[in-house]
């Protein structure tokens, strides 16, 4: 005999919400049985706290403010619908980001299919080129790059790398959380992070070759 929540569980298993085996998600009781007002109150406070970060992340993924707003709206509605399934409310931030990531991914799937080939983590842990002095000099030049140029550089990376870089370096999520959010293995997330950072540095060098020439070093 199926459990009483069988239908609901099936609904929750689609790509809009975290998988029911996820640590962030526990299907326990139907939404209808709960008192609406305190639930809305709690959800509202939590979502509002993280909405700016979510919007910024959505903007990074979609590149269009209207699409980003739509994505956040859909995330809010989906999260609100399944809010009672979250046992640990302290992890709601990761859960919101996970829902947003899943929704974006499913939207992407609708429009195009593209295979991204991940490399083993060991390949991303390579040596840093040049001597210590050269490295320090390059780091100083990179630090002087305008923030818009940095974000432009980030936008040139493949979406999978952008996603991991943003979640790790901007939002400060641990790689284990990112792996869960993006639905990949921990090693894959780490590989994307290391390769993403290396790619970002390379793209920044390409975007501003003058800065990295000997002439540019005097700036």
């Amino acid at each position: 005999m199926p459990p009483p929540c069988a239908g609901r569980c099936q609904t929750l298993m689609d790509d809009r919400t975290p998988h029911r085996d996820s640590k962030l998600f526990r299907a326990e009781r139907p939404v209808e049985s709960l008192d609406a007002a305190p639930r809305e109150q709690e959800f509202g406070a939590l979502f509002q706290e993280h909405s700016a970060g979510l919007l910024r992340y959505a903007l990074r993924l979609t590149r269009k403010s209207r699409d980003a707003e739509d994505l956040v709206q859909e995330t809010a509605l989906s999260a609100f619908e399944h809010f009672d399934s979250v046992k640990d409310r302290t992890r709601c931030r990761a859960w919101f980001f996970q829902i947003l990531t899943n929704r974006w991914r499913s939207k992407q799937r609708r429009f195009f299919r593209r295979e991204f080939r991940d490399l083993p983590l060991e390949d991303a842990l390579g040596e840093v080129d040049g001597t210590a002095e050269e490295t320090n000099s390059e780091d100083r030049r990179i630090e002087s790059i305008d923030h818009r140029r940095v974000l432009e550089g980030l936008g040139r990376l493949v979406p999978e790398m952008q996603q991991v870089l943003w979640l790790a370096d901007v939002e400060g999520f641990a790689l284990r959380e990112i792996a869960e959010m993006t639905g990949c293995a921990l090693g894959t997330a780490a590989s994307r992070l290391a390769r993403g950072r290396a790619s970002l540095r390379r793209v920044l060098r390409e975007l501003d070759p003058e800065l990295f020439s000997d002439k540019g070093s005097s700036r």
Binding site: Q41, S51, Q73, A174, L175, L200
Partner: protein, 284 residues
């Protein structure tokens, strides 16, 4: 060719990368110790941190558009802002609302169809060009708006998104004592307000009207009344009413076809505007 990394270096770098933001444990302590002694690993870690810092600072400086307030927040904020002192006054407010409600009920019963048109046009003119737009849900996805209306208002309007129009969002409002869905559109600089309500509780509305320089067009689709108000021609507004034109046209043609075939075959060509003169000429 560069020599491959030693096993210790790979392990240390992997550990430092994986656990950079997690709690410290023995393996991480060992990795940090290794990085302190190994120049290559130290540079690797420094570079990773520098890139992360660069990205974090760039993101912090990026301007973010205005906050999105989803409908669930709209409702919950109202609850959150209710302080203890407000609760004391809640009784008085409830009494006042009751009086207002009773009055509104009797007033709404006296509403004529002209009043409903005036109310919709006035609402449109009042919020025209308002920034931020007074939508409770901001979305360009018809499905999102339809599901919200179904949940909040108890009926399921069909939200169209014809080419050339931007779908902006939805809110609920009260017209002639009835809670209706108000969908916002934009076409170029022109804004359109589309009111959707239950016809049984709404007085019969004119098919087309013009008030205060704006056009007003209505149509019925699947037992719901759609009333569009905007600064454009009625024909343009009619595009937003779900299948109103096509349904009407289709029904009209079908009826005329049936009439023609059953009762008056000669009028068939007239109904379909078929020119049979070439056949007559050929026969002649």
């Amino acid at each position: 060719m560069r020599p491959p990394l030693s096993f210790e270096c790979i392990e240390a770098r992997r550990e430092l990368l994986l656990e950079s933001s997690g709690p410290k444990h023995a393996a991480l302590v060992l990795a940090e110790k290794h990085a302190a002694e190994c120049e290559g690993c130290r540079r690797f870690v420094d570079r990773e941190r520098a890139t992360a810092q660069l990205l974090r600072e760039a993101a912090e400086q990026e301007a973010v558009p205005g906050p999105v307030i989803p409908v669930v927040l709209f409702e919950s904020q109202r609850t959150l802002t209710r302080s203890a002192s407000r609760r004391v006054r809640a009784g008085l407010t409830a009494a006042a609302l009751l009086v207002l409600g009773v009055t509104a009920f009797f007033v709404s019963r006296r509403f004529s169809r002209a009043d409903a048109v005036e109310a919709m046009v006035a609402d449109h003119l009042h919020y025209r060009g308002a920034e931020p737009r007074p939508a409770q849900v901001v979305s360009s996805e018809p499905a999102v708006l339809e599901s919200w209306a179904a949940r909040e208002l108890g009926f399921h309007p069909k939200v169209e998104r014809p080419a050339g129009y931007d779908l902006l969002g939805i809110r609920s409002c009260t017209i002639s004592g009835q809670k209706v869905a108000l969908v916002f559109y934009q076409k170029g600089h022109c804004q359109v307000s589309m009111f959707v309500g239950d016809p049984s509780r709404w007085p019969a509305l004119p098919a087309t009207a013009a008030r205060s320089g704006v056009s007003f067009v209505t149509g019925t689709y699947r037992n719901l009344v759609y009333a569009a108000v905007g600064d454009m021609q009625p024909e343009e507004l009619r595009e937003l009413i779900p299948h109103a034109t096509s349904d009407a046209m289709r029904n009209g043609i079908t009826q005329r076809l049936i009439d023609s075939i059953l009762f008056e075959p000669a009028s068939l060509s007239q109904s379909l505007r078929i020119d049979w003169s070439w056949l007559r000429e050929e026969r002649a």
